[in-house]
């Protein structure tokens, strides 16, 4: 019923006192901070690279390249080359979604990615204390679980946003259909 996108609301942290209080001071304050910090620490080796996407930064892509395989664990091809191609196509699909999103929502998603790619907020809000490329699979499962089950609306919103962007991008791709038994659209003569 819903579609490839559920963004978090960083816009409201700056302007919305109600949301700020509702979310709980600790989580919100950190997310708020995430918007204003400088880009990811140099330890995130990918951060300095130039992005090949229209909207995703190189740091966003590096983060997503680690989160996508955990969100979709069990659903991606096992063959290494096919796996890598699938992850690349999922990131491309997320970039297409951003290109078609309302301006305010596009900004909110970029705000979420900002939180997840800046060293301080990534550590304190997501509990990922290393760069994404050094985080273990279990670290990332723990991060997703903690946001999914958080008492804070903002973190649950962030989880739902990540889930929808990633799974929406993969299951729109015909390569995902054989595993789930979907035969695709019928031919029309």
């Amino acid at each position: 019923m819903n579609a490839p996108n559920t963004p978090p609301p960083p816009e409201e942290f700056g302007t919305g006192r109600r949301m700020f209080l509702k979310a709980g001071v600790a989580g919100s304050a950190l997310l708020f901070l995430g918007r204003w910090l400088p880009p990811a620490h140099a330890a995130d080796s990918s951060a300095a690279k130039e992005s090949t996407f229209a909207y995703l930064t190189a740091a966003d892509a590096a983060m997503l390249a680690r989160v996508v395989p955990i969100m979709l664990e069990g659903a991606l091809p096992k063959d290494r080359a096919q796996f890598n191609a699938a992850v690349g196509e999922i990131l491309h699909g997320i970039d297409v979604t951003l290109a078609h999103q309302a301006l305010s929502v596009r900004g909110e998603i970029q705000g979420l990615f900002g939180v997840l790619t800046k060293t301080i907020t990534r550590s304190l809000v997501a509990g990922i204390w290393t760069s994404w490329d050094k985080a273990t699979d279990q670290d990332i499962r723990d991060f997703l679980s903690s946001w999914r089950n958080s008492r804070l609306d903002t973190l649950r919103t962030g989880y739902i946003g990540l889930n929808n962007l990633i799974v929406g991008s993969w299951y729109g791709n015909p390569k995902s259909w054989a595993r789930i038994g979907y035969g695709g659209p019928p031919a029309i003569a």
Binding site: M1, T157, N173, I180
Partner: protein, 527 residues
């Protein structure tokens, strides 16, 4: 083929434009499309403004990955302010009629009676509206659909077994091939949407259509709107190109839906002495129950909606505890995946069962009780509208009741396992009705744990006799401005209790005919 000589694409516009017309219509969905045909047929010069792009059957490839970004607001996931409700709303020439699931119902008698009694509207008795329903049913070939796919048969069979009311759904289709992809735009022009009926007719009558053109503000002098200022949009219907379209017309019709119409009025700072604009906006908030069936369902093939149950629509009368209508949603891979808020193995396992998955949805009949005041539209800092829809205990009571009813139907139809779609329910569901009911009783019903949806935006420019409680009168005319009308679902003073397309077609046909007469048009008698 539609005459496309008088179609403007905002993305291709290389200079600013000024257009003049007798009537400018903002929005080309069920309300705007219907009004455009009638007003242009009366000899009036009509300009239609549409935020979305002009896509046709040849563009519709039955791919969710194309359809949601191109044909829906916010990539198919427009959200309420706190992100707790996901709204499916079309954004294309034809509006939501281009992507809806084709279910067409007459308005419940109880709803019209409630409007008359509570809001003092005049001319909304069943007898007043019957000829307009009949006219639009004929125009759009609306008839009960005789074929049930296996998915809709789950609802039909389960309800029958329980002795509950269940009926066939009338659909606006002609030579429908029962493909199942209505939500991605009909690839064979079988759906009798505005895109293939009233809009081509209006173009043939000399109307002009500007697509990828977002109405930004109404220009007001005294008690009149003198022009609509629109901005041209790039191919994505989001980013402005920098070009502008100005339409000057003595009659202005709003038909952009219950979120966009209030947004335009608020941006334009139209007179609103009682602060009614954007208030009482309704959604038919919808909850979902999925079931694993022993037999293959293939819930993505066949007409998406062909059976419904009104067993609990008025479970406690019209104005008592919240009632709901039960239907079936199509389950394509993206829709299913993003409605499954697990990750890793649990998510992969749910998806692997897709051919055997089925679902029932319950649409809450909002707006008939003091504890169901609906939402309110306000503007974000960038001027775009957002709907704040508070989730009340009254609403949760209806949702919890509906989870149990849907599970009863699914088990009666032979389900192996049933899952109320909620973040705390087991992803593989429960094996018995008793276990499911126990789980439902224990669910914590709150925002962003309970998955809520809407495909029906209504209200926000409600009609009524008293300007203190409404935005427009029974003719859809604005209470404060002399030449501004609202002809779409945003004038409903409550939710309907049924899918709104046919109500909008019929009301727009009637109100547009009244306007055509008032504006000096020649109305030909219809047969």
């Amino acid at each position: 083929m539609a005459n496309t000589d008088n179609v403007i694409h905002g993305s291709k516009l290389d200079k600013d434009l000024t257009l003049r017309a007798d009537v400018v219509i903002i929005g080309t969905g069920a309300g705007g499309g219907t009004a455009a045909e009638i007003l242009s047929a009366a000899g009036l010069k009509v300009v239609m403004l549409e935020e979305g792009g002009y896509y046709r059957a040849t563009d519709f490839r039955m791919q969710e990955a194309d359809a949601y970004p191109n044909l829906y607001y916010e990539v198919g996931a427009r959200k309420t302010k706190d992100k707790s409700i996901t709204i499916l709303q079309g954004r294309a020439v034809g509006g939501s009629t281009t992507v809806n699931w084709t279910s067409c119902f007459r308005t419940p008698t109880e709803t019209f009676a409630f409007w008359t009694k509570t809001f003092g509207v005049k001319g909304y008795g069943d007898a007043d509206m019957a000829p307009w329903f009949a006219r639009m049913e004929k125009r759009l070939n609306i008839e009960p659909w005789p074929i049930r796919n296996p998915h809709n048969d789950v609802l039909h069979r389960g309800a029958r077994k329980l002795g509950w009311v269940v009926e066939a759904i009338p659909r606006n289709v002609k030579a429908c091939r029962n493909l199942g992809y209505c939500g991605m735009g009909c690839p064979v022009d079988a759906k009798q949407s505005m895109l293939v009926t009233t809009i081509p007719a209006a173009l043939a009558n000399g109307a002009t259509l500007a697509a990828q053109a977002r109405a930004h503000t109404l220009e007001i002098k005294g008690d009149r709107v003198v022009a609509v200022n629109a901005i041209a949009l790039k191919q994505n219907s989001v980013d402005p190109t920098g070009r502008r379209i100005r339409v000057e017309a003595p009659h202005i019709v709003l038909a952009g839906g219950a979120i966009n119409n209030p947004g335009l009025l608020l941006r334009s700072e139209v007179p609103d002495p009682y602060e009614r604009i954007g208030k009482r906006t309704f959604l038919h908030v919808t909850s979902v129950s999925t079931a694993i069936m022993p037999e293959k369902i293939e819930p993505y093939y066949g007409a998406p909606q062909s059976a419904y149950s009104n067993q609990f629509l008025f479970r406690d009368g019209v104005a008592g505890r919240l009632g709901y209508k039960m239907e079936v949603p199509p389950l394509h891979p993206i829709l299913t995946a993003v409605s499954t808020l697990w990750f890793g193995k649990e998510h992969a396992d749910v998806m692997a069962r897709l051919p055997h998955l089925s679902a029932v949805i319950a649409l809450m009949r909002d707006g008939f009780h003091d504890d169901s005041p609906g939402g309110s539209v306000s503007l974000l800092s960038d001027g775009s509208p957002v709907l704040d829809y508070p989730l009340t205990d009254y609403l949760w009571d209806g949702i919890r009741h509906a989870y149990a009813s849907m599970a009863e139907i699914q088990f009666a139809a032979g389900a192996s396992r049933v899952t109320p779609v909620h973040m705390d329910a087991r992803p593989d569901g429960y094996a018995t009705l008793a276990d499911t009911k126990k789980a439902i009783a224990d669910l914590s019903l709150k925002a962003l744990r309970t998955q809520l949806f809407s495909a029906h935006v209504m209200g926000g420019c409600g009609m009524g006799a008293d300007p203190k409680h409404s935005v427009v009168d029974s003719h859809g005319k604005h209470h404060q401005l002399a030449n501004l009308w609202v002809f779409d679902g945003s004038l409903f003073p409550t939710g309907l209790g049924t899918n709104p397309s046919l109500t909008i077609y019929a009301m727009a046909a009637r109100l547009a005919t009244q306007l055509a007469e008032a504006a000096g048009g020649k109305i030909k008698p219809t047969t």
